[in-house]
Symmetry: C2
Subunit: 186 residues, 2 copies
DNA sequence: ATTACTATACCAACTAGACGGTTTAGTAAT
DNA sequence: ATTACTAAACCGTCTAGTTGGTATAGTAAT
């Protein structure tokens, strides 16, 4: 619950979540097990279960962190695009597309939750709906915004599943194309 | 192996594959088990294993049928867009977006394979690469083509995961927007 | 400075059940 | 005769979750 201000040893919570994402990306959501996770982190199953009382809780935590990171990234882009008439749209898109190496497995949580217990996606659905409202409100061409939003997430999916290799190399060009399309809308 | 030309009773192969897709969509890839599939189809485990000797074979079959259906749909659209300068691109996009109710769970195979054994996606990767070459070759603006391609698959993903509700209702409008964007490219 | 206490962060061993897959023996439609 | 199964028992392995105990680090009274 408390990471810094409380007594006790420092927590491995984020280490575990990182390993979980990595595991899903490399081996598939079905092999995200406490045993495998224990091997990857050198933490015993008991230790893992101390942090996440059940597998569902672990999946929830993965989703939560994913949303939080995305939100932080969006805020950062909002600053970068200050003054741009399409600030909101651009920030949402680039946050989702994000290129930070540390967030490379951002959608592992999504896939893992979908595989193990789709009901866990409910809060995610709410978040998406909120984003869609934002797109609707702040975009001159909402349908274009929707298309670009889906494009970003399609690209992320293909990248995560390694269905295409050059997605990474072209990510900059891809992002530039998205921005150009936004600016060119009439 | 033979569905029509051989003697014996008619095969339930496709019935099984349909149920498998349905199961993945509603319960998640992790609950795609022979037991659950047997319950859903009223076919015994032995019967299922008669058709698909292992789970990997089942997943392979799901992917194969998915690709085959997509290919057939694309051919149908190629006829529909005969003479259109963007025939290829439009056909590829609409085939993937497809709206046939019977193919509603087209990407279940993808998610199930990704979850259980990512290595099974290798043929899929090849297929995607081929599609990308086609896009590169037949599109005036390949980057736009790529964006739209990802948009279609992003929309499919969100629909499959039920991350947004109105995707279905808006699918026609979404498709029209894609086509308009293709025609408007300069 | 020592002692006592508390909260956190684990570990090792175990259990009950689920899962993929096999086997066997038999049935039914064509 | 061939194909397409059913039914049911069975097996080894894996998995989530439990239990009961231990180690570490900070807190606070003495």
């Amino acid at each position: 619950m408390c990471a810094k201000k409380c007594a006790g040893r420092p927590s491995n919570r984020d280490v575990i979540l990182d390993a979980a994402e990595q595991l899903v990306a490399s081996e598939g959501a079905a092999r995200l097990t406490f045993d495998a996770l224990g091997q990857a982190t050198s933490i015993s199953k008991g230790g893992l279960l101390y942090h996440f009382a059940s597998k569902d809780k672990l999946l929830e935590a993965m989703l939560e962190r994913m949303v939080a990171r995305n939100s932080d990234l969006k805020d950062a882009f909002m600053v970068e695009f200050e003054g741009d008439p399409n600030q909101e749209l651009k920030s949402i898109l680039l946050a989702s597309l994000n290129s930070d190496a540390e967030c490379a497995q951002l959608s592992s949580g999504l896939l893992a939750a979908a595989a193990n217990n789709p009901e866990l996606l409910a809060p995610m659905t709410a978040h998406v709906q909120q984003t869609f409202q934002s797109l609707e409100q702040f975009s001159r061409d909402p349908m274009l915004a929707k298309v670009l939003f889906f494009a970003v997430h399609g690209a992320r999916l293909f990248e995560q599943l390694q269905l295409c290799e050059h997605c990474q190399g072209d990510r900059k060009a891809f992002a530039d194309k998205l921005l150009a399309m936004i600016d060119q809308q009439n």
